[in-house]
């Protein structure tokens, strides 16, 4: 559904990456690998529509419903966990029972009425995963989703990947872990 041709991005006069060409036709999950500063986050931001000043072509074959998750989760400190999910602008209208079932899976149900300022970093990551679970998008762009996750949550996230794929969605996520786990690789180092 997504196709790029000679995609380049420059900050002032310096190219972050150049002539990136790939296509997401057959596979569902893409792992974006590359060294620090190779432009992984930048590429995800371009694909999600945050950065618009790219060069080259970027086309979507069907109507895209993007779910983007960056380094910053967009959580509001003075909203509770439940409110943060309920008012997340990436999600469609959802009910509290839906939120509760997701929070249960993530072991966050006891914290659902606590303001997110009092949560640990790992728990804040889990709120973002909860939004990921509830989303009905067809293109997921996740910036380093597996970073600093415990074993259990990592497994859960992989499960969610499978569920999302079964609905026909595509997932592109970045990682600096090069070990291949049956994901198609997009190697940023090749495009510099």
């Amino acid at each position: 559904m997504l196709k790029t041709a000679n995609l380049s991005y420059k900050f002032d006069d310096k190219y972050i990456f150049s002539n990136l060409s790939f296509e997401t036709t057959n596979d569902s999950v893409f792992k974006l690998v590359g060294d620090n500063g190779s432009g992984k986050s930048t590429l995800l931001k371009i694909l999600s529509g945050i950065y618009k000043n790219y060069e080259g072509d970027l086309s979507f074959s069907e109507k895209k419903l993007v779910f983007y998750s960056g380094h910053k989760a967009g959580l509001k400190n003075n909203l509770s966990v439940r409110e943060n999910i309920f008012f997340d602008i990436r999600l469609p209208k959802i009910s509290y029972s839906q939120i509760n079932s997701v929070l249960k899976k993530l072991d966050l149900i006891d914290y659902s009425d606590i303001q997110s300022a009092y949560l640990s970093e790992g728990q804040k990551r889990k709120i973002n995963i909860a939004c990921f679970m509830l989303s009905t998008a067809n293109l997921y762009l996740l910036d380093e989703p597996f970073n600093n996750l415990d074993r259990k949550t990592t497994d859960l996230l992989k499960e969610i990947f499978d569920i999302k794929i079964s609905t026909g969605a595509k997932i592109i996520f970045s990682s600096h872990d090069r070990s291949n786990e049956d994901f198609s690789l997009i190697d940023m180092n090749l495009f510099n």
């Binding site: 950065y51 910053k72 989760a73 509001k76 003075n78 008012f87 602008i89 990436r90």
Partner: protein, 219 residues
């Protein structure tokens, strides 16, 4: 549409939870207003003449504190990135943010400015133009504040507020003049009309400019 209602509710909730957003302008306003008689003079005649200008300038300065709220936190926590990724009409979102900010930072001050009747001996016939001119003038100031806030995002520089003050000069002049007119028994409706005209004229321009300025940080 559901999307914008959601944002509106979210903004309301955030502002109402964040007590500093509406308490600090109010506290600043009340303290300044009660300092003027001590600092300048407690002579009712002198204060009466100065009251329109003093109130307007104090309102201007106390709203200044709140303009950092409009975008700074959203920028820090990544919400603006999510808004941009959503592909929705950003100018409407910015308008909602300015509106909520106005309700929480300007509206309480406008209500409290009635106290100037006691504290600054403003004659009672000046109250009506004071309230009306503040109600119509402060949204324009919030617009300028949003532009300044969007331009100076991520930096705690003085450039932002400093930029906004010369821009709001016409509003200040027309606002104080409306009160002075009514104190002198002159019809002040032309000033109110001009303030409205400025608001309507500048609303799309400044909104457009603020959205542009906001996008500049994601380029």
């Amino acid at each position: 549409m559901i999307y914008f209602v959601k944002i509106l509710k979210k903004e309301f909730l955030i502002y109402s939870r964040k007590s500093s957003s509406f308490i600090s302008p109010v506290v600043f306003f009340l303290i300044s207003i009660s300092l003027y008689p001590i600092g300048i003079s407690n002579d009712p005649d002198i204060l009466k003449n100065l009251a329109p200008g003093l109130i307007w300038i104090t309102v201007l300065l106390s709203t200044l504190i709140s303009f950092q709220n409009i975008f700074a936190e959203d920028y820090e926590d990544g919400s603006i990135e999510l808004l941009l990724a959503s592909g929705q009409n950003l100018s409407l979102i910015v308008l909602i943010k300015i509106f909520v900010n106005w309700i929480f930072s300007c509206l309480p001050i406008i209500v409290l400015s009635m106290f100037s009747i006691f504290l600054l001996y403003l004659p009672i016939e000046g109250l009506k133009p004071l309230i009306i001119s503040l109600l119509i003038g402060t949204p324009t100031i919030c617009l300028f504040g949003a532009l300044a806030g969007a331009l100076s995002l991520g930096k705690n520089s003085i450039t932002g507020p400093a930029l906004m003050l010369p821009l709001s000069l016409p509003v200040l002049i027309l606002g104080t003049q409306a009160i002075n007119y009514s104190l002198n028994g002159i019809n002040f409706s032309s000033n109110i009309l001009l303030l409205t005209a400025i608001l309507i004229f500048l609303l799309p321009i400044i909104l457009f400019a603020s959205v542009g300025a906001l996008k500049l940080h994601f380029n």
